[in-house]
Symmetry: C2
Subunit: 374 residues, 2 copies
């Protein structure tokens, strides 16, 4: 499948839904991908995970850092390429393909940029099926694949190559380096042979994002409900239809951390919903519970939690709203839907479940929680 501008827009839109509030600004990502596509050395092809050859060296392309910073900071077009080629130097071989490490607005489009510049295909997969805030929160880490080497590059020309002993050390080094690089950086980690990629990556996630984007676009064109169209694809449910009444947000340690308070709208269909919902985020939306403050969190108030996906969508258009776009007064639908089964294993919950992020509650699947509510 050859990528065109419409597909880039659809991926940007859909990946922002699956990006659960994070993954970077989709619109600047789409712009960069389109410019790269125009100047591509050959058409950019998206290939299925099954098409990857066992012996190929594959390298993901992504940006790391707080999404609020990535919007304000001008990323150089060559920055990602510098990190990618530093990886090729560290490996002593060239990459046959690239892919997104996560499905988030900006980060799902960056591989298209690299593919266009290098003349290599993008693999239709990622290592999260969503966006997560830390570098070790990838299926590759769950499967025990080595993170090393890692490369980071900034727009000033600084390049750092890490050989961490595991993915947790990768995160420990990459985060302060990203801070020094100005809050966001191009990063490559988990280079691997096609054989390993096929075993560990989540296939079809890039085209899943594209289908969601397409569904939003078509629903709006036809005057249909775009939120319903999204739920048809992702299989989740509305937690609340409401208005944003407060946002708490701090940018520190390379993250945007905070919470958003949503008050129910008086509308048909909202009768069974809670009056207020509080959503916690760390770049991504991580946990939603009933109540109007962070202190209302307890095992019984939880409505949805990481690793399941939580997205905030514009109530009228279904447009996803990233954490940095959240504003007082926005009318939204808060939806939650299942993560990939890999995240529901004991290891998956340990790595990206609520307790890892400091929420003292047990993980229950969105399906379980929906059952309890009914």
């Amino acid at each position: 499948m050859l990528i065109n501008e419409q597909m880039i827009d659809d991926i940007a839109l859909g990946a922002t839904v699956l990006g659960t509030g994070g993954g970077g600004d989709p619109y600047s990502g789409a712009l960069m991908a389109k410019v790269a596509l125009k100047n591509a050395i050959k058409p950019v092809e998206v290939i299925a995970l099954e098409e990857v050859q066992d012996t190929w060296m594959t390298v993901p392309s992504s940006m790391i850092g707080a999404p609020t910073v990535s919007i304000e900071k001008i990323n150089s077009e060559s920055q990602m390429l510098v990190a990618f080629e530093a990886m090729e130097v560290a490996l002593g071989e060239t990459a046959a393909a690239t892919f997104p490490i996560e499905i988030g607005g900006f980060n799902s489009l960056i591989p298209i940029l690299v593919a266009a510049q290098k003349g290599i295909p993008v693999v239709d997969c990622d290592a999260m099926g969503r966006a997560f805030p830390e570098a070790q929160m990838v299926t590759f880490y769950l499967d025990g694949l080595p993170s090393a080497p890692n490369t980071l590059a900034d727009e000033k020309g600084n390049v750092v190559t890490l050989h961490p002993i595991d993915g947790v050390w990768s995160e420990r080094f990459a985060r302060p380096i990203t801070e020094e690089m100005g809050g966001s950086a191009a990063m490559c980690d988990y280079p691997m042979l096609g054989k390993n990629l096929k075993q560990s990556a989540l296939g079809g996630t890039l085209t899943r994002a594209m289908k969601i984007g397409q569904a939003i676009r078509l629903a709006n064109a036809k005057g249909e409900n775009a939120v319903d169209a999204i739920l048809d694809i992702v299989g989740g449910q509305r937690l609340i239809t409401g208005k944003i009444v407060d946002i708490e947000r701090t940018t520190a340690g390379g993250f945007v951390t905070g919470g958003v308070i949503i008050e129910k709208l008086n509308k048909a269909g909202t009768e069974s919903m809670p009056t207020d919902v509080y959503v916690h985020f760390q770049n991504e939306l991580l946990l939603a519970h009933s109540g109007s403050s962070a202190g209302d969190l307890n095992q019984d108030s939880v409505l949805a939690s990481t690793p399941d996906l939580i997205s905030i969508l514009d109530h009228e258009t279904g447009q996803p709203i990233t954490t940095e776009q959240l504003r007082y007064g926005q009318r939204i639908d808060l939806i939650a839907y299942p993560c990939d089964p890999k995240w529901r294993t004991a290891k998956g919950i340990e790595v990206a479940g609520p307790r890892y992020f400091g929420y003292d509650v047990e993980y229950k699947t969105i399906e379980e929680l929906a059952g309890e509510i009914q």
Copy 2:
């Protein structure tokens, strides 16, 4: 000149004087160097700077981090070798010689360890003529030589390779990585050809340390005054002969920062000395002024300041006391003596003068200040 155990002890002692309170624990450094010497693949030779061939690749060996941490943390014997060999990989060539980046207790001995393990000579030189707390405070930076690449290694097996755009960026990246590595790390930076080393390094500094150590040892053996023996070599003066009455110390950001208050002893020869002296440190002793608190600092109260050297010596034995060994009640001589002329240039003062460290005073040489006092 072939290194023996006595020379290691003399270097440890003398380098701790020139280390101006920092440079890491000399005794664990001496121990590691002696063990390495016993297991050396061939005798370890110290060669003069002039003997270095223009085409040799030379790589310094050093530890980075807060000295208090390097005492408490067990450094693996192979850690320095890992950083050194990561540098050879980054350069794509083997190193023909190593050398100390600074003359400080631990850091002047680490090259002997590497030399023993690699079978290469140690060059009798360094890039400070003393110890300084930050990675860009080297003559190589003053001379515009590139810092990149840099390598860091911890005792757990983590390795980081930096390609910073200059020495200041090297410091900006290396410091938080060192923090993550547990507060101290093996580091190689400023790899260079022999041609550049001969132009920019300060020659003879390792043997200068050895001569100072030897002088202390011999003075004590003969019952002579060791502080006088040191001053005969370094050409400085006693600022105060006194007792340590307070120490303020915090370990943060990869540094040990604080101050020490010294009260004059009532002894013959101390008549012209101030009643109290306050010495500021950041790993190394950086500025001494009359008065009993940090607030007494002003242009007129300064007695000696970075880049000139300040050392605290045991009053009876002339044994140097590092910042982490400072204790209430110690009877000491505080001495100050001239730095290398390279540090007295406009660039040298900008990089390592008092204002860089946040002291709002103009740099005056110890000779100027001594003239004002008389």
